[in-house]
Symmetry: C2
Subunit: 315 residues, 2 copies
């Protein structure tokens, strides 16, 4: 397939670097202000080097990339809330041209899911978004494989929050100190609100709810509590009882909830570090647990490229 | 789809009972000596009741079921080694008629994989066999979704052996006593050799090897050691070191190995009771862990029915 990659952060760059191995050509790459289109295939090293040295991916415009001759638009710009722009318009443009759209960006499928599905219904293209939920973990394709038999989902879906909670429990140090350490390590952003307030995990759960219940959920429908106000003493108390605390997202009975929850210390949900885990409750086959790397450039790009491998041929 | 179910044990019966919920009709059911064909749909309760009271599923023959007008043959007869009969011939008959074959039976895809694939290549039908590896755990569809990016697999794939090891470690009692308990609970067969000698886990690993390496592996290619000779003292020694023992199957670098292995006591591989777990090593996305119920009638039937949902339309 011929790919146009919108977004040149860790995920977009990794898609560019790995696409060839999966048998695809990247014919265009854009960041927020620049773009490059090469019908014969964009040179990954050139893009990475221009981005580093000059802050641009090429001398063209993002608009030129949106107009390029691609089969699949990869939407890997940063997640935005509300109108989910510019990601939503990128997806709209691709579907309007009867091309596929594969998203790593959570915004359009969390905040405007019904509109995305309506655009897809009128298009010759297909929309997939495995990379938007749980990074490398194939949650959405598993739900799809299970054929309508998943009743509910629960999981640890934010690696930054999980790293902080794991470290607080292991070292007995408080939130502010662990956050500073996580920022030094690059595990937490300079502005960690999106992760530690539960917004990122909630968006992933909203997407799961949209898929499981064919619904029209948005972030506003989620009950969200973060970990920023969690005292270290809460983790100590939990540990005395053989338990620990994880930021758990739940999608069940039509509800979406994210918040700190007590879980058994050596239990399945107590993944450590930046790992993610999802538990799927099935109608006839009990509980299924899937864990793996929930973030990272190559990890998330591998989910994008797996989606691309599942796309039907364009007619 | 119209299903013919060969085999009326726990899995075949559960397929019969759940098929309607998935939108399919069962038009025939056979055990080793009897059969019933109903073009309008076989009555599950009638089959279960005849099987219990008279030891037959109906007044017809297995041959009549093989000749019935079905879209999918579900092969759920007991796994046999070597020629993998009668399962292999059932699959051959279905593919010869350009119908699909979905297997819960490990034999044909462990012992005669290349022949099954050759028959499929000449057929209008498709062969799927998710239920043959890890019961309810969607291992093969995940490998398929990951698009050639799985390099190796490792896992705990036999619930009976795992139950015995979990109990030996938890209670400090020896193999013979735990085996007797497992037999009382119905977790182990009267003849437990297939499970405790590692054969069952090895067959599943052979199937994984055939899928991962597009190979022609059979049980003879696997290095297999069971748990029957494991002294209780080995588990005690392991526990002193924070570890335990699991019957682990490994498929890597073209090799298939099954045997007792030391694993961290609270580690991912140390699933307890009859749970199964598989770890997939991916090229760019690290390790993926999937755990769930590896056996049981409805659990295995749900994997059969998920496969049926993934079949293409017959032309």
């Amino acid at each position: 397939m011929r790919l146009a990659v919108m977004g040149a952060g860790a995920v977009g760059t990794a898609v560019l670097e790995l696409a060839g191995e999966y048998g695809h050509d990247v014919v265009g790459v854009a960041d927020s202000s620049s773009g490059v289109v090469e019908d014969g295939g964009v040179d990954p090293d050139g893009v990475v080097s221009r981005k580093r040295k000059r802050g641009i991916v090429g001398d063209g415009t993002p608009e030129a990339v949106l107009g390029a001759d691609y089969d699949v638009l990869v939407e890997a710009t940063p997640t935005t809330l509300g109108d989910a722009e510019p990601g939503f318009s990128h997806v709209e443009r691709a579907l309007g041209r009867d091309r596929h759209a594969v998203l790593a960006n959570k915004g359009p499928v969390a905040e405007r899911y019904d509109e995305v599905r309506a655009l897809e219904a009128d298009s010759g293209g297909t929309v997939l978004f495995e990379a938007a939920v749980g990074g490398a973990i194939p949650i959405l394709s598993t739900i799809d494989d299970l054929n309508g038999q998943v009743a509910a989902a629960r999981g640890v879906l934010n690696g930054t929050a999980n790293f902080i909670l794991s470290r607080m429990a292991a070292e007995g140090i408080d939130y502010e100190h662990v956050l500073a350490e996580a920022q030094d390590l690059g595990v937490a952003e300079a502005d960690p609100a999106f992760d530690v307030e539960g917004t990122d995990a909630a968006l992933k759960c909203v997407i799961l709810a949209n898929v499981l219940y064919e619904g029209t959920y948005t972030l506003a429908d989620a009950e969200v509590e973060g970990i920023a106000d969690l005292p270290g003493s809460a983790l100590e108390l939990a540990a005395e009882d053989g338990r620990t605390i994880r930021l758990v997202g739940e999608v069940s009975d039509g509800n979406v909830r994210v918040g700190p929850r007590l879980v058994p210390e050596n239990g399945t949900l107590a993944v450590s570090g930046t790992l993610n885990i999802v538990q799927l409750e099935t109608n006839h086959a009990g509980r299924l647990n899937i864990s793996g790397r929930g973030a990272g450039g190559p990890e998330t790009a591998s989910a994008v490229l797996a989606d691309i491998g599942r796309l039907p041929e364009l007619s």
